[in-house]
Amino acid sequence: MSTYSDLDATALAAATASGERTARSNVEDCLRVIDARDGELHAFLSTEREAAFALADDLDRGARAGVPPGPLHGVPVALKSNMCLEGFEANCASLILKGWRAPYTATFVQRLIDAGAIPIGMTNMDEFAMGSSSENSAFGPTRNPWDKKRTSGGSSAGSAVSVAAGMTPIALGSDTGGSVRQPAALCGIHGFKPTYGRVSRYGLIAFGSSLDQVSPFARSLRDIELVMQVISGFDANDSTCLDEPALLPEHGDVKGLRIGVPKEWFPDALQRDVRARCEEALAKLRELGAVTVPVSLPHTQYAIPTYYVVATAEASSNLARYDGVRYGMRRDGDGSLQSMFAHTREAGFGAEVKRRILLGTYVLSSGYYDAWYMRALKVRTLLRRDFEEAFEHCDVVAGPTSPEPAFEIGAKADDPLAMYLSDTMTVPVSLSGLPAVSVPCGLVDVAGTKLPIGLQIAGPHRANARVLRVARAFEQATDFARARAPLFGGAMFGRGGSK
């Protein structure tokens, strides 16, 4: 019998449905790996053991009574701490929501549970999903299972590490400017951001509402496809949710498929090893029958400023609700209402969240709105047009997910702008609302430490299945997704071993 951490969700659900394993044993094994590893990795902010065992026992009882198993029968899943599951703490890694337990369950979480998945706990993240390293969590950073001195990326750090360390086969994150693709790349797993609107945002705590998208992590692409089949599809509770049925995988090879290679994603300054792994990946796709064509996304250099104007404007509006009245922390000021608002927000928000609220307030303020916010919305149109023109010559585009492998914790802590540049390749895709996946494409050696690199494959609006088909062809032809981090799995399973 294979051990828990070796199985992907598809195999684990099959083993549980067949009676080879029980849902309870899955939860026990999952918690054993978390207990063995999370002291050093800090993927989870909370685990909900009683609730998980209760769900598992229900599933096992149902199975004995002949209830047909769901596609995720008995599979533990980790949720980012900005996702609502009734009774679970959804604190967004912020002091302002510390202790806040969700009063309702998100549509996508309910769909996971209905499919037989077992939410095991809530994962660490950059506060309110603002960051690329989880160093903006109010509760300390998550560490990379490939090298615990290094960041796991962000903002969906804990969900990425839960999967990369073998704690859960699948996890959900949210991707606003790269918050699933970048940590997936830095942790050596798959992360898929669907077309904006493909998954309901009902129950996802908002950061940048025109950008936020619930996005899965997994060690295999068949698991990504399985999770997408479960969570995607129309929901009347989110007016931006596309009116389409659940996503179905597309089978087939990549023969004759045209892969655009944006020259702006391979700048001269790109790290040599990152370039090498991505070029080798493109060569492999050519070997499989695809054709690569050079394309240009000429407005790429404007993407980071555009993103940080649009996303901070939306954040300053979305985060206005944290005022000490209806939920979370309250700090009294001089006794007036205004002072209570300001003291609560000052005490409850961390430095990066305040920086972004201030930036967003500035670009929306009277006299600056047209020069900044309205201008950024127009540049956003130009960025989207770049992709539309590129897709006249190709079916998907591909390049590095991140310009660098995992960096050391603290390396960019005092330089917000350097941190923002981590998102250079993911942000244009987000602003355009396009689907994109990050797939492991090999390792690089950084001072004797092996670190994973991710290849980003992005497609036209709604071409979710096509993007995943290309990724799957690559996965099947290579071994990169099977590489495991040194801190993978629990020691009792005879895997990995502590450094």
Partner: protein, 102 residues
């Protein structure tokens, strides 16, 4: 910086305003590239899904139970959120809607 902080309802201190002000300045300098771009005649992109005016039947549906929401408030009184005095008085008195939290 203090003016924007007041608009954003953030009570930042003098030292914090200085640090944030410096970081802000360096970020905005980099972002000035946007000003050099010709966007004449370009429509703003206001949404990413392409969906327009999604409507549903105008029928009442159940909402969350009030108690579940009120029980999560930092201060409440009966079926109300308890907040400092909003109108009238000196701002420090206990008002009829509950006044300041104790």
């Amino acid at each position: 910086m203090r003016r924007i902080a007041a608009l954003a309802r953030l009570d930042i201190g003098v030292d914090e305003a200085q640090v944030l002000g410096r970081q802000f300045a360096s970020i905005l300098v980099q972002f000035q590239v946007l000003a050099g771009l010709d966007v004449e005649g370009v429509e703003p992109m206001t949404g990413a899904s392409g969906a327009v005016n999604v409507l549903r039947e105008d029928v009442p549906v159940p909402s969350l139970p009030a108690e579940a929401l009120l029980s999560r408030a930092p201060a409440r009184e009966g079926d109300f959120y308890r907040v400092p005095l909003v109108v009238g008085g000196e701002g420090k008195d206990v008002g009829q809607s509950g006044g300041r939290a104790r």
